[in-house]
Subunit: 302 residues, 2 copies
Amino acid sequence: MRKIIETVPNFSEGRRRDVIGEIVSAVKGSPGGAQVLDLSSDADHNRSVLTLAGDPDQVRRSILHLFEAALPRIDLRSQRGEHPRMGAVDVVPFVPVTGSSMAECVELARSVGEEVARTFDVPVFLYEEAATAEHRRNLADIRRGEFEELAEKMRDPRWSADFGPREPHPSAGATAVGAREFLIAFNVNLGTPRVEIADKIARAIRHSSGGLRFCKAMGVALSERGIAQVSINMTHFRKTPLHRVVEMIKTEAARYGVEVVGSEIVGLVPNDALLAAADFYLRLEAFDPSQVLENRLALPGE
Amino acid sequence: MRKIIETVPNFSEGRRRDVIGEIVSAVKGSPGGAQVLDLSSDADHNRSVLTLAGDPDQVRRSILHLFEAALPRIDLRSQRGEHPRMGAVDVVPFVPVTGSSMAECVELARSVGEEVARTFDVPVFLYEEAATAEHRRNLADIRRGEFEELAEKMRDPRWSADFGPREPHPSAGATAVGAREFLIAFNVNLGTPRVEIADKIARAIRHSSGGLRFCKAMGVALSERGIAQVSINMTHFRKTPLHRVVEMIKTEAARYGVEVVGSEIVGLVPNDALLAAADFYLRLEAFDPSQVLENRLALPGE
């Protein structure tokens, strides 16, 4: 099976279309680089999010090309936006997708982080699964204070960089490089216009208020359709799978006499997340992913 | 998306291991050929079934190599077995899997059939979706009378070959080449030892006795586990999907106070068949297969 890692670098430019275009072109044109699956830019946030996928070497090359293109074009001394940021290239997470493990993504985060720091003289903080200490695991904690307070923050040994110089790069700040699970954006639609029911269900299922460990959720009104929705981020679909969320929402909704009328996946979803739902609902016994024809074909030398 | 076609050629040798090995080696070693996913040989049937997959050119090359290796080694004048057969290479179905349509498999059956007939002087009958007349669609009808009565049968213009000579090949008979849907072998286990309940459910769900159009089924006793099983062949998983069969069995079983305790897929299953089950049970709205990360990666040039 081909080894595929996803990376979702965020860079701090969401307004100047020409600059965004130049940066994305540099990444797309990088020889031996990863595939660009998506680009999403937000002017209010003044931030762009690239989705790339490929084998470890391909994603490494693409990230290096991204720094090469972004650093001369983004100067945080004048950059402003609603989204918190501490770097021109602000965050680089690596995500295991197919044939790759979290351990490999942690290893990749460390070696790419080291290479970025050495090549571009940008301090790198390792975060999430790649973090070197528990207090440095959460991205929001690392980034707190943003670019403007970073020089001061980095004087505290608890917040020295994992790789690179002891001070921020003058224009490019610092970058958080890490490893995390694939995030699935998943919405469940209810047969009611009452958003307070969606809110109550969201509170029941989400981790922060007592629910499922890898589930974030909130209630949203879909006014055009006249229905309410539970809008969900699944942060670890292997440990908190889609079917468990759907079944829990059905049960909670029934308590209000409300039905689940549909659901939607926003953006990309790993095949495994859907196979797990099929496995559960079809009550498969001893199902082996190598029984999937397409997985067989991907195995080299068979 | 890479275009993948499955082919499941049956050849009339299931006893002489050396001969089977030579034939399979020739197919495996064919340059630019398809991937060999499976081989299943049966001595009673005196027959072997190969499962191959690849793009249209790869499966074409493998089939031609199969004929090249099988024809000098199998002589139907002396071959005997329980399974009906009319050819040394008896049947060659092409099955659309990924990025390929039934129309393409029909086209491939016709062009490979023509090439086989021309190259090896073997008459070829097109069957199933590739058939040139309704009475020639069913493989069992084409093969009725087997090798021994084939010369006589072919004198009837209704049973002249689609390609190749007007008489059978002296030692290799004739070959049926066709196009059909992927067949999924799927078993559903019941929480009862009573095989008569499995039998009744099988009769309820299968096409031949009034059930679902693309479903064959029978009841089986799993004596080791002390339970009964509905053993199913799904002959068109897109039109009669897995979830519909499972839900129908649950409903029928409930009538006897019996539960579905599990299910199993025997052999290979196309990814789409499982995604359809996930789509149904998760109640997805407007799900697009291009949202599956792995499908994105397979798209060339993106």
